[in-house]
Protein backbone atom coordinates (compact mmCIF):
# COMPACT_ATOMS: atom_id res chain seq x y z
CA UNK A 1 0.00 0.00 0.00
CA UNK A 2 1.09 3.48 -0.65
CA UNK A 3 -0.69 5.34 2.01
CA UNK A 4 1.86 5.61 4.74
CA UNK A 5 5.42 5.09 3.64
CA UNK A 6 5.02 6.39 0.17
CA UNK A 7 7.21 5.68 -2.76
CA UNK A 8 10.17 7.53 -3.96
CA UNK A 9 12.85 6.37 -6.29
CA UNK A 10 16.14 7.08 -4.61
CA UNK A 11 17.39 9.68 -7.01
CA UNK A 12 17.84 12.58 -4.68
CA UNK A 13 21.59 12.29 -4.47
CA UNK A 14 22.33 12.22 -8.15
CA UNK A 15 22.89 15.94 -8.49
CA UNK A 16 25.35 15.93 -5.61
CA UNK A 17 27.23 13.18 -7.40
CA UNK A 18 27.93 15.50 -10.25
CA UNK A 19 29.76 17.92 -8.01
CA UNK A 20 31.65 15.56 -5.75
CA UNK A 21 34.43 14.97 -8.22
CA UNK A 22 35.60 18.56 -8.32
CA UNK A 23 36.78 18.43 -4.74
CA UNK A 24 38.81 15.35 -5.38
CA UNK A 25 37.03 13.00 -3.01
CA UNK A 26 38.74 9.68 -3.20
CA UNK A 27 35.46 7.84 -3.70
CA UNK A 28 34.87 9.72 -6.90
CA UNK A 29 38.42 9.92 -8.17
CA UNK A 30 40.06 6.54 -7.60
CA UNK A 31 39.51 3.74 -10.03
CA UNK A 32 37.86 0.71 -8.51
CA UNK A 33 34.75 -0.61 -6.84
CA UNK A 34 32.69 0.67 -3.97
CA UNK A 35 29.90 -1.21 -2.21
CA UNK A 36 27.64 0.55 0.26
CA UNK A 37 25.01 -1.35 2.19
CA UNK A 38 22.53 -0.31 4.81
CA UNK A 39 19.58 -1.44 6.87
CA UNK A 40 16.83 0.85 8.13
CA UNK A 41 14.62 -0.22 11.02
CA UNK A 42 11.80 2.29 11.33
CA UNK A 43 9.25 2.40 14.10
CA UNK A 44 6.33 4.76 14.77
CA UNK A 45 4.77 5.20 18.21
CA UNK A 46 1.20 4.05 19.02
CA UNK A 47 1.46 0.94 16.84
CA UNK A 48 1.59 2.92 13.63
CA UNK A 49 3.94 2.00 10.79
CA UNK A 50 6.88 -0.36 11.22
CA UNK A 51 9.34 -0.77 8.37
CA UNK A 52 12.47 -2.75 7.63
CA UNK A 53 14.43 -1.60 4.63
CA UNK A 54 17.69 -3.14 3.39
CA UNK A 55 19.61 -1.38 0.61
CA UNK A 56 22.75 -2.12 -1.38
CA UNK A 57 24.57 0.16 -3.80
CA UNK A 58 27.44 -0.83 -6.06
CA UNK A 59 29.59 1.78 -7.81
CA UNK A 60 32.31 1.18 -10.37
CA UNK A 61 34.71 4.11 -10.83
CA UNK A 62 36.75 4.11 -14.01
CA UNK A 63 40.12 5.59 -14.82
CA UNK A 64 38.62 8.36 -16.95
CA UNK A 65 36.63 9.55 -13.89
CA UNK A 66 33.41 8.15 -15.24
CA UNK A 67 31.35 5.89 -13.02
CA UNK A 68 28.29 3.65 -12.98
CA UNK A 69 26.20 3.14 -9.86
CA UNK A 70 23.29 0.84 -9.18
CA UNK A 71 21.13 0.66 -6.11
CA UNK A 72 18.55 -1.84 -4.93
CA UNK A 73 16.18 -1.16 -2.05
CA UNK A 74 13.58 -3.44 -0.47
CA UNK A 75 10.88 -2.29 1.92
CA UNK A 76 8.65 -4.31 4.22
CA UNK A 77 5.94 -2.23 5.83
CA UNK A 78 3.09 -2.90 8.22
CA UNK A 79 1.06 -1.07 10.84
CA UNK A 80 -1.66 1.52 11.18
CA UNK A 81 -2.26 4.81 9.43
CA UNK A 82 -4.69 7.64 10.27
CA UNK A 83 -7.67 7.23 7.91
CA UNK A 84 -8.57 10.93 8.05
CA UNK A 85 -11.74 10.62 10.14
CA UNK A 86 -12.06 12.96 13.12
CA UNK A 87 -11.61 11.81 16.71
CA UNK A 88 -15.08 11.66 18.30
CA UNK A 89 -16.66 11.03 21.69
CA UNK A 90 -18.48 8.01 20.27
CA UNK A 91 -17.15 4.73 18.84
CA UNK A 92 -16.84 4.73 15.06
CA UNK A 93 -17.14 1.77 12.70
CA UNK A 94 -15.37 1.85 9.35
CA UNK A 95 -15.56 -0.52 6.47
CA UNK A 96 -12.07 -1.16 5.20
CA UNK A 97 -12.14 -1.47 1.45
CA UNK A 98 -8.76 -3.16 1.35
CA UNK A 99 -9.80 -5.54 4.12
CA UNK A 100 -12.91 -6.54 2.21
CA UNK A 101 -10.87 -7.05 -0.95
CA UNK A 102 -8.41 -9.27 0.87
CA UNK A 103 -11.20 -11.23 2.53
CA UNK A 104 -12.87 -11.81 -0.82
CA UNK A 105 -9.58 -12.94 -2.31
CA UNK A 106 -9.01 -15.30 0.60
CA UNK A 107 -12.52 -16.72 0.14
CA UNK A 108 -11.88 -17.18 -3.58
CA UNK A 109 -8.65 -18.97 -2.73
CA UNK A 110 -10.40 -20.94 0.03
CA UNK A 111 -7.52 -20.02 2.33
CA UNK A 112 -8.79 -20.67 5.87
CA UNK A 113 -5.80 -19.03 7.49
CA UNK A 114 -6.31 -15.76 5.59
CA UNK A 115 -10.10 -15.88 5.98
CA UNK A 116 -9.55 -15.97 9.72
CA UNK A 117 -6.88 -13.26 9.56
CA UNK A 118 -8.90 -10.86 7.45
CA UNK A 119 -12.39 -11.84 8.59
CA UNK A 120 -12.46 -9.35 11.43
CA UNK A 121 -10.62 -6.70 9.44
CA UNK A 122 -13.19 -6.16 6.71
CA UNK A 123 -14.53 -3.54 9.04
CA UNK A 124 -12.99 -2.09 12.15
CA UNK A 125 -14.07 -0.09 15.16
CA UNK A 126 -12.29 2.90 16.69
CA UNK A 127 -13.17 3.44 20.37
CA UNK A 128 -14.51 6.80 21.55
CA UNK A 129 -11.75 9.38 21.97
CA UNK A 130 -9.18 7.46 19.90
CA UNK A 131 -7.61 8.54 16.61
CA UNK A 132 -9.19 6.47 13.83
CA UNK A 133 -6.51 4.30 12.24
CA UNK A 134 -6.77 1.88 9.39
CA UNK A 135 -4.73 -0.96 10.83
CA UNK A 136 -5.04 -3.11 7.78
CA UNK A 137 -1.82 -2.02 6.17
CA UNK A 138 1.12 -4.02 4.91
CA UNK A 139 3.14 -4.00 1.77
CA UNK A 140 6.46 -4.77 0.16
CA UNK A 141 8.24 -2.37 -2.09
CA UNK A 142 11.19 -2.83 -4.43
CA UNK A 143 13.18 0.03 -5.92
CA UNK A 144 16.06 -0.23 -8.37
CA UNK A 145 18.03 2.67 -9.77
CA UNK A 146 21.04 3.19 -11.98
CA UNK A 147 23.21 6.23 -12.58
CA UNK A 148 25.99 6.90 -15.07
CA UNK A 149 28.44 9.78 -14.67
CA UNK A 150 30.73 10.72 -17.54
CA UNK A 151 33.19 13.60 -17.93
CA UNK A 152 32.94 15.48 -21.22
CA UNK A 153 35.27 18.05 -22.75
CA UNK A 154 35.92 21.52 -21.33
CA UNK A 155 35.06 20.72 -17.74
CA UNK A 156 31.55 19.44 -18.43
CA UNK A 157 30.15 16.31 -16.81
CA UNK A 158 27.04 14.42 -17.77
CA UNK A 159 24.98 12.35 -15.37
CA UNK A 160 22.21 10.08 -16.64
CA UNK A 161 19.99 7.98 -14.42
CA UNK A 162 16.78 6.10 -14.03
CA UNK A 163 14.73 4.43 -11.31
CA UNK A 164 11.93 1.93 -11.07
CA UNK A 165 9.81 1.32 -8.00
CA UNK A 166 6.97 -1.13 -7.55
CA UNK A 167 4.63 -2.30 -4.80
CA UNK A 168 1.14 -3.72 -4.45
CA UNK A 169 -0.79 -0.73 -5.69
CA UNK A 170 1.80 1.66 -7.04
CA UNK A 171 4.42 1.71 -9.77
CA UNK A 172 6.86 4.51 -10.54
CA UNK A 173 9.35 4.97 -13.35
CA UNK A 174 11.70 7.92 -13.62
CA UNK A 175 14.56 9.07 -15.83
CA UNK A 176 16.91 11.95 -15.14
CA UNK A 177 19.77 13.84 -16.70
CA UNK A 178 22.11 16.43 -15.23
CA UNK A 179 24.96 18.37 -16.72
CA UNK A 180 27.57 20.22 -14.72
CA UNK A 181 30.41 22.56 -15.61
CA UNK A 182 33.52 23.20 -13.54
CA UNK A 183 34.81 26.78 -13.61
CA UNK A 184 37.52 28.91 -12.04
CA UNK A 185 40.07 26.15 -11.43
CA UNK A 186 37.32 23.92 -10.09
CA UNK A 187 36.30 26.45 -7.47
CA UNK A 188 32.85 26.77 -9.00
CA UNK A 189 30.52 24.15 -10.41
CA UNK A 190 27.27 24.98 -12.14
CA UNK A 191 24.78 22.17 -12.64
CA UNK A 192 21.42 21.76 -14.26
CA UNK A 193 19.32 18.63 -13.89
CA UNK A 194 15.93 17.38 -14.96
CA UNK A 195 13.91 14.43 -13.73
CA UNK A 196 10.80 12.98 -15.36
CA UNK A 197 8.64 10.63 -13.34
CA UNK A 198 5.67 8.52 -14.41
CA UNK A 199 3.49 6.99 -11.71
CA UNK A 200 0.58 4.58 -11.82
CA UNK A 201 -1.67 3.92 -8.88
CA UNK A 202 -3.87 0.82 -8.72
CA UNK A 203 -5.59 0.36 -5.34
CA UNK A 204 -7.01 -3.09 -4.46
CA UNK A 205 -10.54 -1.80 -4.72
CA UNK A 206 -10.14 0.65 -7.56
CA UNK A 207 -9.97 4.42 -7.50
CA UNK A 208 -12.85 5.75 -5.38
CA UNK A 209 -14.98 8.57 -6.74
CA UNK A 210 -13.79 11.61 -4.73
CA UNK A 211 -16.08 13.40 -2.28
CA UNK A 212 -18.53 10.49 -2.15
CA UNK A 213 -19.56 8.29 0.78
CA UNK A 214 -17.06 5.54 1.62
CA UNK A 215 -19.79 2.89 1.78
CA UNK A 216 -21.50 3.99 -1.44
CA UNK A 217 -18.52 5.20 -3.46
CA UNK A 218 -18.45 4.19 -7.08
CA UNK A 219 -15.16 3.28 -8.65
CA UNK A 220 -13.63 5.91 -10.88
CA UNK A 221 -11.54 3.23 -12.62
CA UNK A 222 -9.01 0.64 -11.58
CA UNK A 223 -5.91 2.75 -12.18
CA UNK A 224 -4.84 6.34 -12.57
CA UNK A 225 -1.60 8.09 -13.37
CA UNK A 226 0.55 11.06 -12.47
CA UNK A 227 3.55 12.74 -14.13
CA UNK A 228 6.14 14.80 -12.33
CA UNK A 229 8.81 17.04 -13.84
CA UNK A 230 11.60 18.38 -11.66
CA UNK A 231 14.24 20.87 -12.70
CA UNK A 232 17.16 21.72 -10.40
CA UNK A 233 19.76 24.42 -10.98
CA UNK A 234 22.73 24.38 -8.63
CA UNK A 235 25.88 26.33 -7.85
CA UNK A 236 28.62 24.72 -5.82
CA UNK A 237 31.33 27.11 -4.68
CA UNK A 238 34.58 26.63 -2.79
CA UNK A 239 34.42 29.72 -0.57
CA UNK A 240 37.68 29.29 1.34
CA UNK A 241 40.14 26.53 2.08
CA UNK A 242 37.70 25.38 4.80
CA UNK A 243 34.30 26.22 3.42
CA UNK A 244 32.29 24.83 0.54
CA UNK A 245 28.77 25.97 -0.22
CA UNK A 246 25.97 24.76 -2.46
CA UNK A 247 22.87 26.63 -3.56
CA UNK A 248 20.09 24.82 -5.41
CA UNK A 249 16.96 26.25 -6.93
CA UNK A 250 14.26 23.71 -7.82
CA UNK A 251 10.91 23.79 -9.50
CA UNK A 252 8.54 20.86 -9.76
CA UNK A 253 5.32 20.35 -11.70
CA UNK A 254 3.07 17.42 -10.87
CA UNK A 255 0.00 16.59 -12.95
CA UNK A 256 -2.52 13.81 -12.46
CA UNK A 257 -3.92 11.79 -9.60
CA UNK A 258 -2.92 13.22 -6.22
CA UNK A 259 -5.72 11.80 -4.05
CA UNK A 260 -4.93 9.25 -1.40
CA UNK A 261 -7.54 6.55 -2.14
CA UNK A 262 -7.51 5.30 1.46
CA UNK A 263 -8.19 8.62 3.15
CA UNK A 264 -11.52 10.27 3.87
CA UNK A 265 -13.17 12.98 6.00
CA UNK A 266 -15.87 13.02 8.65
CA UNK A 267 -19.03 15.00 7.90
CA UNK A 268 -20.40 16.59 11.08
CA UNK A 269 -23.61 18.42 11.85
CA UNK A 270 -23.12 20.97 14.62
CA UNK A 271 -20.17 18.92 15.84
CA UNK A 272 -22.09 15.63 15.86
CA UNK A 273 -21.44 12.67 13.59
CA UNK A 274 -24.34 11.86 11.29
CA UNK A 275 -25.51 8.52 10.02
CA UNK A 276 -24.65 7.73 6.41
CA UNK A 277 -27.97 7.68 4.53
CA UNK A 278 -26.51 4.84 2.45
CA UNK A 279 -25.90 2.65 5.51
CA UNK A 280 -27.11 -0.81 4.53
CA UNK A 281 -26.72 -2.34 7.99
CA UNK A 282 -23.88 -4.56 6.81
CA UNK A 283 -21.83 -4.03 9.92
CA UNK A 284 -24.77 -4.26 12.31
CA UNK A 285 -23.96 -0.90 13.90
CA UNK A 286 -24.43 2.72 12.91
CA UNK A 287 -22.11 3.77 10.11
CA UNK A 288 -21.43 7.48 10.09
CA UNK A 289 -20.96 9.62 7.02
CA UNK A 290 -17.41 9.89 5.64
CA UNK A 291 -16.43 11.18 2.21
CA UNK A 292 -13.35 10.23 0.21
CA UNK A 293 -10.88 13.10 -0.03
CA UNK A 294 -10.02 15.05 -3.17
CA UNK A 295 -6.94 17.10 -4.11
CA UNK A 296 -6.17 19.28 -7.13
CA UNK A 297 -4.77 17.53 -10.18
CA UNK A 298 -1.97 20.05 -10.53
CA UNK A 299 0.75 20.93 -8.06
CA UNK A 300 3.67 23.29 -8.54
CA UNK A 301 6.46 23.44 -6.01
CA UNK A 302 9.49 25.65 -5.73
CA UNK A 303 12.36 25.32 -3.32
CA UNK A 304 15.64 26.96 -2.41
CA UNK A 305 18.25 24.80 -0.72
CA UNK A 306 21.44 26.21 0.72
CA UNK A 307 24.07 23.95 2.23
CA UNK A 308 27.35 24.92 3.86
CA UNK A 309 30.10 22.61 4.95
CA UNK A 310 32.91 24.06 7.04
CA UNK A 311 36.03 22.21 8.14
CA UNK A 312 36.83 22.64 11.84
CA UNK A 313 40.37 21.90 13.07
CA UNK A 314 42.00 19.19 10.95
CA UNK A 315 39.36 16.47 11.00
CA UNK A 316 36.02 17.88 12.17
CA UNK A 317 33.28 19.61 10.21
CA UNK A 318 29.98 21.44 10.52
CA UNK A 319 27.24 20.79 7.98
CA UNK A 320 24.40 23.28 8.01
CA UNK A 321 21.61 23.52 5.47
CA UNK A 322 18.39 25.41 5.03
CA UNK A 323 15.51 24.78 2.64
CA UNK A 324 12.53 26.96 1.87
CA UNK A 325 9.71 25.35 -0.07
CA UNK A 326 6.46 26.82 -1.31
CA UNK A 327 3.72 25.35 -3.48
CA UNK A 328 0.43 26.39 -5.05
CA UNK A 329 -1.57 24.28 -2.59
CA UNK A 330 -0.78 26.88 0.07
CA UNK A 331 1.98 24.94 1.78
CA UNK A 332 5.14 26.80 2.81
CA UNK A 333 7.88 25.02 4.70
CA UNK A 334 11.21 25.75 6.37
CA UNK A 335 13.80 23.09 7.08
CA UNK A 336 17.01 23.63 9.05
CA UNK A 337 19.51 20.80 9.34
CA UNK A 338 22.63 20.81 11.46
CA UNK A 339 25.28 18.08 11.81
CA UNK A 340 28.67 18.15 13.50
CA UNK A 341 31.31 15.64 12.44
CA UNK A 342 33.60 14.91 15.39
CA UNK A 343 36.67 12.81 14.76
CA UNK A 344 37.76 10.99 17.93
CA UNK A 345 41.50 10.35 17.94
CA UNK A 346 41.38 9.01 14.40
CA UNK A 347 39.67 5.87 15.70
CA UNK A 348 36.03 6.65 15.03
CA UNK A 349 33.72 9.59 14.53
CA UNK A 350 30.52 10.88 16.11
CA UNK A 351 27.89 12.95 14.34
CA UNK A 352 25.25 14.60 16.51
CA UNK A 353 22.38 15.83 14.34
CA UNK A 354 19.43 18.18 14.73
CA UNK A 355 16.72 19.00 12.20
CA UNK A 356 13.89 21.48 12.52
CA UNK A 357 10.96 21.45 10.14
CA UNK A 358 7.75 23.44 9.94
CA UNK A 359 4.98 23.65 7.36
CA UNK A 360 1.74 25.52 6.89
CA UNK A 361 -1.44 23.69 5.96
CA UNK A 362 -2.72 23.18 2.43
CA UNK A 363 -5.61 25.50 1.55
CA UNK A 364 -7.99 22.54 1.34
CA UNK A 365 -6.83 20.83 4.54
CA UNK A 366 -9.61 20.55 7.10
CA UNK A 367 -10.04 18.23 10.09
CA UNK A 368 -13.66 17.52 9.06
CA UNK A 369 -16.45 18.74 6.80
CA UNK A 370 -19.58 20.48 8.04
CA UNK A 371 -23.09 19.69 6.95
CA UNK A 372 -24.77 22.68 5.37
CA UNK A 373 -21.64 24.65 4.49
CA UNK A 374 -19.44 21.92 2.97
CA UNK A 375 -21.88 19.10 2.28
CA UNK A 376 -25.64 18.80 1.78
CA UNK A 377 -27.74 15.64 1.82
CA UNK A 378 -31.17 14.86 0.41
CA UNK A 379 -32.37 11.31 0.94
CA UNK A 380 -29.46 9.07 -0.04
CA UNK A 381 -28.01 11.76 -2.24
CA UNK A 382 -24.89 13.47 -0.89
CA UNK A 383 -23.49 16.56 -2.54
CA UNK A 384 -20.19 18.16 -1.67
CA UNK A 385 -20.18 21.93 -1.99
CA UNK A 386 -16.41 22.06 -1.74
CA UNK A 387 -14.30 20.80 -4.63
CA UNK A 388 -11.20 19.83 -2.69
CA UNK A 389 -10.77 18.62 0.88
CA UNK A 390 -8.34 16.42 2.80
CA UNK A 391 -7.79 15.63 6.48
CA UNK A 392 -4.45 13.93 5.80
CA UNK A 393 -2.14 15.08 8.62
CA UNK A 394 0.70 15.40 6.09
CA UNK A 395 -1.18 18.35 4.61
CA UNK A 396 -1.85 20.00 7.98
CA UNK A 397 0.23 22.59 9.83
CA UNK A 398 2.90 21.25 12.15
CA UNK A 399 6.49 21.54 13.18
CA UNK A 400 8.84 18.63 13.75
CA UNK A 401 12.11 18.08 15.58
CA UNK A 402 14.61 15.35 14.81
CA UNK A 403 17.52 14.51 17.11
CA UNK A 404 20.09 11.98 16.07
CA UNK A 405 23.51 10.53 16.75
CA UNK A 406 25.70 8.55 14.40
CA UNK A 407 28.87 6.65 15.14
CA UNK A 408 31.16 5.49 12.36
CA UNK A 409 34.23 3.30 12.59
CA UNK A 410 36.64 3.12 9.66
CA UNK A 411 38.89 0.06 9.70
CA UNK A 412 41.39 -1.81 7.52
CA UNK A 413 41.90 1.19 5.22
CA UNK A 414 38.83 0.99 3.01
CA UNK A 415 36.11 -0.38 5.28
CA UNK A 416 33.64 1.48 7.44
CA UNK A 417 30.72 0.48 9.66
CA UNK A 418 28.24 2.97 11.03
CA UNK A 419 25.22 3.05 13.29
CA UNK A 420 22.82 5.93 13.69
CA UNK A 421 19.73 6.53 15.75
CA UNK A 422 17.20 9.29 15.10
CA UNK A 423 14.08 10.31 16.96
CA UNK A 424 11.36 12.43 15.35
CA UNK A 425 8.33 14.15 16.83
CA UNK A 426 5.70 16.45 15.36
CA UNK A 427 3.91 19.33 17.09
CA UNK A 428 0.43 20.35 15.97
CA UNK A 429 0.22 23.94 14.66
CA UNK A 430 -3.27 23.89 13.19
CA UNK A 431 -6.05 26.32 14.00
CA UNK A 432 -8.80 24.22 15.50
CA UNK A 433 -12.36 24.27 14.30
CA UNK A 434 -14.68 24.90 17.21
CA UNK A 435 -17.39 22.32 17.78
CA UNK A 436 -20.46 23.15 19.93
CA UNK A 437 -20.09 22.26 23.61
CA UNK A 438 -21.18 18.73 24.36
CA UNK A 439 -21.07 17.58 20.72
CA UNK A 440 -19.23 14.47 19.52
CA UNK A 441 -16.24 16.51 18.30
CA UNK A 442 -16.11 19.01 21.19
CA UNK A 443 -12.68 19.06 22.85
CA UNK A 444 -11.25 16.23 20.72
CA UNK A 445 -7.83 16.24 19.07
CA UNK A 446 -8.02 17.39 15.47
CA UNK A 447 -4.52 16.38 14.42
CA UNK A 448 -2.65 13.10 14.92
CA UNK A 449 0.88 14.09 15.92
CA UNK A 450 3.46 11.58 14.81
CA UNK A 451 6.42 10.30 16.80
CA UNK A 452 8.90 7.92 15.28
CA UNK A 453 12.41 6.63 15.72
CA UNK A 454 14.72 4.77 13.44
CA UNK A 455 17.98 2.91 13.47
CA UNK A 456 20.32 2.75 10.49
CA UNK A 457 23.18 0.32 10.09
CA UNK A 458 25.73 0.90 7.36
CA UNK A 459 28.72 -0.93 5.94
CA UNK A 460 30.91 0.32 3.10
CA UNK A 461 33.95 -1.07 1.40
CA UNK A 462 36.15 0.15 -1.47
CA UNK A 463 38.78 -1.67 -3.44
Amino acid sequence: MMKTMSNKPYISASLALATSALLGHSAAAEEGWQVDSGLLIYNEADGRVQAVEPVIAVTRNFEDESSISTRLTLDTLSGASPNGAAVAAVPQTFTSASGIARLEQAEDDDDDHEIEEYGDRAYYVTPAGDTPYDENFEDNRTTASVSWLRPLNNGFKLNLGGAYSTEGDFTSLSVNAAISKDLAQNNTTLSLGMNLEFDEIAPDTGIPEPMTSIIAAESAGSTDTKQVTDVVFGITQVMTRRWVSQLNFSVSQSTGHHDDPYKFLTVADQGNLIEDPNDNGLTGVTTYLYLYEHRPEERQKMSIYWQNKVAIYANDAIDISYRYMTDDWGIDSNTLDLTYHLNVRGLFYLEPHYRFYEQSAADFYTPYLELGTDVVTAGTSITSLTEFASADPRLGAFSADTYGLKIGVPFMDHHEVSLSYETYSQTDKNEYKSAPAGSDLDGQDQFAELSANWLQLGYSVRW
Binding site: S12, A13, A16, G24, D230, K309, S333, Y424
Partner: protein
Amino acid sequence: MKFAPFIIATLVALMLSGCANVKPWHRDLLAKDHMALDSDPLQSAFNDHIYFSKEASSGGRGFGGGGCGCN
Protein backbone atom coordinates in the same frame (compact mmCIF):
# COMPACT_ATOMS: atom_id res chain seq x y z
CA MET B 1 7.18 34.15 -1.95
CA LYS B 2 7.63 37.60 -3.50
CA PHE B 3 11.10 37.94 -2.00
CA ALA B 4 12.38 34.76 -3.64
CA PRO B 5 14.13 36.44 -6.59
CA PHE B 6 15.83 38.90 -4.23
CA ILE B 7 16.97 36.17 -1.84
CA ILE B 8 18.24 33.99 -4.68
CA ALA B 9 20.10 36.88 -6.31
CA THR B 10 21.71 37.79 -2.98
CA LEU B 11 22.83 34.23 -2.30
CA VAL B 12 24.16 33.76 -5.83
CA ALA B 13 26.07 37.04 -5.60
CA LEU B 14 27.43 36.06 -2.19
CA MET B 15 28.61 32.72 -3.48
CA LEU B 16 30.21 33.98 -6.66
CA SER B 17 31.80 37.13 -5.23
CA GLY B 18 32.81 35.83 -1.83
CA CYS B 19 34.96 33.11 -3.24
CA ALA B 20 38.65 33.13 -2.71
CA ASN B 21 40.53 31.37 -5.46
CA VAL B 22 41.51 28.24 -3.55
CA LYS B 23 44.26 26.43 -5.38
CA PRO B 24 44.01 22.67 -5.88
CA TRP B 25 46.96 22.06 -3.52
CA HIS B 26 45.06 23.90 -0.79
CA ARG B 27 42.12 21.56 -0.94
CA ASP B 28 43.51 19.05 1.54
CA LEU B 29 40.71 19.69 4.00
CA LEU B 30 37.92 19.90 1.42
CA ALA B 31 39.06 16.66 -0.22
CA LYS B 32 38.40 14.57 2.87
CA ASP B 33 35.50 12.15 2.56
CA HIS B 34 33.55 13.67 5.43
CA MET B 35 33.67 17.07 3.64
CA ALA B 36 31.68 15.73 0.68
CA LEU B 37 28.41 17.63 0.39
CA ASP B 38 26.59 14.31 0.68
CA SER B 39 29.05 12.20 2.64
CA ASP B 40 26.62 9.31 3.18
CA PRO B 41 24.20 9.01 0.24
CA LEU B 42 22.47 5.90 1.61
CA GLN B 43 21.70 7.63 4.89
CA SER B 44 20.49 10.71 3.01
CA ALA B 45 18.22 8.50 0.90
CA PHE B 46 16.77 6.77 3.98
CA ASN B 47 16.08 10.11 5.65
CA ASP B 48 14.70 11.77 2.51
CA HIS B 49 12.31 8.87 2.08
CA ILE B 50 11.09 9.07 5.66
CA TYR B 51 10.53 12.83 5.54
CA PHE B 52 8.94 12.61 2.11
CA SER B 53 6.46 10.08 3.52
CA LYS B 54 5.50 12.16 6.54
CA GLU B 55 5.74 15.75 5.39
CA ALA B 56 4.46 17.79 2.44
CA SER B 57 7.93 18.85 1.25
CA SER B 58 10.59 17.01 -0.70
CA GLY B 59 13.70 17.66 -2.72
CA GLY B 60 16.09 20.57 -2.36
CA ARG B 61 19.36 18.69 -2.28
CA GLY B 62 18.33 16.93 -5.48
CA PHE B 63 15.15 16.05 -7.30
CA GLY B 64 11.97 16.07 -5.26
CA GLY B 65 10.19 13.39 -7.21
CA GLY B 66 6.51 12.73 -7.01
CA GLY B 67 6.08 9.43 -5.23
CA CYS B 68 2.59 8.25 -4.56
CA GLY B 69 -0.59 10.25 -4.67
CA CYS B 70 -0.64 10.61 -0.92
CA ASN B 71 1.88 13.37 -0.77
